[in-house]
């Protein structure tokens, strides 16, 4: 990309990109830690995560203020304009990812017993995949790599598939032993949070595509999450 005749414009845009990069780094960090906290029942770590969410919120406000200022002062056009709109949208997705990580940390505080091993493994696999996707999408943003962004977009269905299996597994636990309902409900929300993080990551990928090409990705999203269509039947008492 060529540089602006008014070089301060380039500096303003670079600042916006830096803020997004910082937010992305924080969101990744918070998300990774929240999964650690949940799977090791580390309450102290969870408290830290909850307290640290403010930083992401502050950065989001900073992105917004800078974006508004840029639009007012520089009257951006074409790709410049798109990059500013996209920065606003991506920052809001990252802020939501931060919130979801915080929510996972809160679940850690609510679950007072060790997680069943297979559920823990399932959640970790989901989280790993979601972490990978988030890292890739942030890379794609930094390098304006649409191919990478499109790959992220396509891969979201893998998280959904894992979510379906965690969902079914937790259902089975709850049906077998009503005493696990409390814990399993929290874990179900935890899994849902990871799945939502995947969705926000997909949003970011769509925005990168729009930023670079000027066109929206209008194909239907590859969705595999079928849990909202899964009937839950009570088992007959024996």
């Amino acid at each position: 990309m060529t540089t602006h005749i008014v070089s301060a414009f380039d500096e303003d845009l670079a600042k916006l990109r830096n803020l997004i990069a910082q937010m992305g780094g924080l969101a990744e960090d918070q998300f990774g830690k929240s999964i650690d906290a949940l799977s090791t029942s580390d309450r102290v770590k969870a408290e830290h995560i909850i307290a640290a969410d403010d930083k992401i919120d502050t950065l989001e406000k900073e992105v917004e203020e800078n974006a508004i200022k840029l639009i007012a002062m520089r009257q951006p056009m074409a790709e410049d304009l798109r990059s500013i709109m996209v920065a606003i949208r991506i920052s809001s997705d990252l802020e939501r990812i931060g919130d979801l990580a915080k929510n996972i940390a809160k679940r850690t505080l609510a679950v007072n017993e060790p997680l069943p091993r297979s559920v823990n493994a399932g959640l970790n696999r989901m989280a790993e995949l979601a972490m990978e996707q988030l890292a890739d999408v942030l890379d794609a943003y930094a390098s304006l790599d649409t191919q990478k962004a499109n790959d992220v977009w396509h891969n979201d269905s893998r998280i959904d598939t894992l979510y379906n299996s965690v969902f079914r597994e937790l259902l089975t636990y709850m049906m077998e032993d009503a005493r696990t309902i409390g814990m399993c409900t929290h874990l179900l929300f935890g899994a849902k949070n990871i799945e939502r993080i995947g969705d926000h990551t997909t949003n970011i990928a769509e925005n990168i595509h729009y930023l670079v090409t000027g066109e929206t990705l209008d194909a239907p999203r590859p969705k595999e999450d079928s849990t909202s269509l899964t009937p839950i039947e009570a088992r007959a008492e024996k």
Binding site: H4, I5, Q75, M77, R82, L144, V212
Partner: protein, 278 residues
Amino acid sequence: MDAAVMDTDKHHEAIMTPAEPLIMKQGTPKIVTKDVTVHYGEKQAIFPLDISIPDRAVSSFIGPSGCGKSTFLRCINRMNDTIPICRVGGKITIDGSDIYDPDLDVVQLRARVGMVFQKPNPFPKSIMENVAYGPRIHGMAQSKTDIEEIVVNSLKRAGLFEEVKDRLDAPGTGLSGGQQQRLCIARAIAVNPDVILMDEPCSALDPIATARIEELIDELRENYCIVIVTHSMQQAARVSQLTAFFHLGTLVEVGDTEAIFTNPQERRTQDYIMGRFG
């Protein structure tokens, strides 16, 4: 990204008119040009240029100084005829008829194709006389009341009447810059043109006067084909439906204004509207 860059580079030298602009689908174009060239002596100012300009819409020509946009605009009412060393080639039609037809009366043509310039240039006469002059020399009105009616209507359509109705006999040059420009627009529309050409009509005006002219342009487009040359891209974005980008005497890209300012297809257009080094 790489693929997109390569694609733009490939078309870099070609005149590119990708999909037909949506605004052109609303009816037959008012002005059509084919292979138009302009030479000033030995120097070629416009290279073969094809464009279709819609009726009842505002089309803007943008581009850096010296790109040929004003020269091209001046071909549309044969203003370039007044420059002895200037030669115009190719074909320009308005409503299908060739405006460079040797049998055509240029005075009549200029009544059909009005023009508003960068600097307001009212005659050193009264407000009334400024507007009455055109209709009178074109024999559009016989009686004094006819003329007055045309003057009042034109001033009303130019959004100036309320401000000057008590002093129609005052000199036109005594008005403010913005009012003078609206007086010039009133003068242009008094002879009932089809097309109004505007060559940077707001560049000598303050932002408030500019906004009033832009509002006026927006109203006038219901009845006229308006072509505006502007250095302000924001102005092109605000007032026009079709935007054409000129560079070094060629038409680089033409399209719906919305598309040009949000997602131009040509690298040179992109660099220009984003204020980048090309």
